[in-house]
Subunit: 147 residues, 8 copies
Amino acid sequence: MIWRVYLSGEIHSSWREEIILSAKEANLPIVFHSPIIDHQKSDAAGDVLGVENNSFWRDHKSSKINAIRTNSRIEMCDLVIICFSDKYKQWNAAFDAGYCAARNKPYITLHNESIIHPLKEVDAQAMAWTKTTAQIIEILIYITSEG
Amino acid sequence: MIWRVYLSGEIHSSWREEIILSAKEANLPIVFHSPIIDHQKSDAAGDVLGVENNSFWRDHKSSKINAIRTNSRIEMCDLVIICFSDKYKQWNAAFDAGYCAARNKPYITLHNESIIHPLKEVDAQAMAWTKTTAQIIEILIYITSEG
Amino acid sequence: MIWRVYLSGEIHSSWREEIILSAKEANLPIVFHSPIIDHQKSDAAGDVLGVENNSFWRDHKSSKINAIRTNSRIEMCDLVIICFSDKYKQWNAAFDAGYCAARNKPYITLHNESIIHPLKEVDAQAMAWTKTTAQIIEILIYITSEG
Amino acid sequence: MIWRVYLSGEIHSSWREEIILSAKEANLPIVFHSPIIDHQKSDAAGDVLGVENNSFWRDHKSSKINAIRTNSRIEMCDLVIICFSDKYKQWNAAFDAGYCAARNKPYITLHNESIIHPLKEVDAQAMAWTKTTAQIIEILIYITSEG
Amino acid sequence: MIWRVYLSGEIHSSWREEIILSAKEANLPIVFHSPIIDHQKSDAAGDVLGVENNSFWRDHKSSKINAIRTNSRIEMCDLVIICFSDKYKQWNAAFDAGYCAARNKPYITLHNESIIHPLKEVDAQAMAWTKTTAQIIEILIYITSEG
Amino acid sequence: MIWRVYLSGEIHSSWREEIILSAKEANLPIVFHSPIIDHQKSDAAGDVLGVENNSFWRDHKSSKINAIRTNSRIEMCDLVIICFSDKYKQWNAAFDAGYCAARNKPYITLHNESIIHPLKEVDAQAMAWTKTTAQIIEILIYITSEG
Amino acid sequence: MIWRVYLSGEIHSSWREEIILSAKEANLPIVFHSPIIDHQKSDAAGDVLGVENNSFWRDHKSSKINAIRTNSRIEMCDLVIICFSDKYKQWNAAFDAGYCAARNKPYITLHNESIIHPLKEVDAQAMAWTKTTAQIIEILIYITSEG
Amino acid sequence: MIWRVYLSGEIHSSWREEIILSAKEANLPIVFHSPIIDHQKSDAAGDVLGVENNSFWRDHKSSKINAIRTNSRIEMCDLVIICFSDKYKQWNAAFDAGYCAARNKPYITLHNESIIHPLKEVDAQAMAWTKTTAQIIEILIYITSEG
């Protein structure tokens, strides 16, 4: 069985690369999917639809183009991993968590101890809270093992 | 027809009271529901289940008790209004928005211009973005009017 | 048992008033719901959210406010009646029909013979095609009668 | 990941061929599906079931045969692109849009500026409004790219 | 708690009246719903839509009008009772059973021993097989009693 | 695209073989599934679970084993074809039709003119009524053709 | 808002009465529902359908009659409370918990510390684990309070 | 067609190995999935997330990690087989059964006669009750055979 795992959230550190590399080294039967993590490219996703002077509408158009990718991938994945940093607002990451909760899609959070309290509702419906990518890898090894 | 409206999000200003009062003055056929907005009471919702030394588990228990209220009310409401301030993390508010989006439950956001960009994914699936409670009231008057 | 019936579509003739009046005269146990049929008011539904120079965004905002009403009412109704004229585009009426079909919500169309061919996909998933409001009333009398 | 894209709507211009050809040239990992676009063949889809003197029933039978194809393909696709011309009624295209909206199936519209107003409800629930097939291709390149 | 019970199937004997009368005498908190059981009236349900020379289309139109009633009532009932006689085809009754099974709507069958074998698939997904209306009443008394 | 088609209903004539053979000759991209059509084997499907003196329970056990096959296959198929003869009760075939209707699974009926009236509710929610396997093949050719 | 709470599980102690009485004294806006807790009456629920020599079939018939009650009530309740004792098998209580989990119906468990380990999967998807009815009452007071 | 079968429940005997081996010998087109059946490894599934002094939380974390595996596999399987022993509590097995029932996922139980009565609710919604793995194999041969 091939697992599909979606890596949502924080885009300013190398957590995705670490997980993908370690999973590869461990030969895990996992295909990973991610949002577009090039920040500028993501913000400009809707620019092809025409210039907007109003930044709200520029953001609106780009977010919807990105949503085509995000929703399709979340729906088809078996597990979602959502990373939060203590530096950014990352409301989109919390949004993805709520979306997963409502769809019965299991998700795991990745964040350090300093933001336990503001993330309590997000963690309450997660299948696990992790602090390191090493923990994520251990879990992926476990859940993808047979019997 | 009686409408049910859930007021999610920011708990440090009087936006809920303003909406409820204005709706009452306008005789709108709306029943409002809210989370427990007494911060300390909400954080302590799970304390009855036993003392926890680890703050993660204290938060975990309280969040789940609160989730019984939140999910029931979101499911039964016709519309959710979600308020974001520029001061707090409010990941629970973004979580509620994602939950609504996944359930086809219409929601309206309430926040000022300074946080348009970080809220772009949340706004992209909202039915409207408002900046003032006066705008909310206008919309409630409109949608509750008959033909 | 009280039935809820939603009257979707054409807004330039008196078909809604005819149905509502006849149903009242026949004492049918039906509550009717309608979109906002004042064309200007409907087009301006989103103006409270701020002026838009671009007509696309003005329409966008108003349509979403109207969608809060439409979707809520379609979901809660037992039957939807959708009227098409041969004069207008009425893509919103066909949109409502597709929405109903996907949700297993029964709908009846009301239109004259001249537009049978372009409405064939809409009629194919309808429970009935009617040409007059008198036929609608006969059907409402029948379905609301007990055993 | 292979994407499936359904091309719904207008059948009198070459927009489908343009998209399919460009996607092929760009080596996009997309399988396209379309309705039967030979107008006469589509109208005659139900003739094998027996001759009808009444044009309503002839249309009825053909529409239902076509609906087997349409619904199956919309359900299995990741994205639907719906093209409207300003010359035709195309209520079936708006019907497909309503069907997609009710199923949470993302769709993009393709039409020129002259019909923004009558399409406002259809566009309000679309993920994007495009005016050219070149814009469509840009979006397809973006959403099918990995991370 | 008021229960809603739908009485589907055979229309040539007095089983519905027996159940309704006994339930009334026992003061059971049940509202009963039934199809139109006047055979001629039911067959003519669609005649208001225009005369059909082809009996298939006459039946088609009447069946769809009746389906508006049937589906609405099955959806809103807590329990469906489906009666089969050994004299008639009653494919509509078996159709209702299949519909209930797919919707997780509990149903009870009522038929005598002579047709156990042809009804085996229908009975396999029923909550009970009864032979008399007296048994039905016993069950209704039991399930409507509190704790 | 490979289509999956389930062949439900009548087991005393060669309609399945005709369809499968013709589809093969026409090279249609279809995989067919069927119930166990060996009548005795099907009736004995549950005998491995232990002898029953009471014929009701023997039928009950076999029907449930068969239901594992039937429901799995109906769920995974794109189209169901249901054949009725005028000689048998075939309540299981009507049950499958009701199941399909409730799941939005398109189905086509196959039966001769003599049983139009008793099958009117079954036909009312079918996508087509056919009288011959040749008609079925024509439809399969049509729906499996690309654009 | 009136809440509906279903009390599932253990039937040999007075936990239900304690909760119902305390809720009444506290004037909580709650309607409680319970299974039939008279053990003999519950085991005999299907006897009206005819005598069975085989105890498996007697149990089978009674369980299905009880399932009509259980499933209807679980579906309509806002919260389920499930009590486990350390003395009995109570597989039906764990079955109800799994049913709730799959339906997104929030449930709270009530059991003492000695059975934490065997109940770990049941507790993992519960909204809270309680040890006393006093804790239950505190939670009910909290969740039924408005804002 | 390849079937997917999930083997839930009792972990102290060799029933899984017997089924898998026999299925292999009979060349059945079945892929089997199981929970982690190494008891200690399963109990420790969450230890990577950090040490817990409180056994409740240790169990909680491990159960949730295991639930990622269990729920994914149950959702993707065509059939679940659930084994109960008369020696253990196995509330997780009954929980899986309730989960299956609520999701319309067919399941078969495997247990001896001594526990018929406490398992009556679990068996009532099962597709079959078996006593030996030989019976399971017979059923698997039957359901995986074509027409």
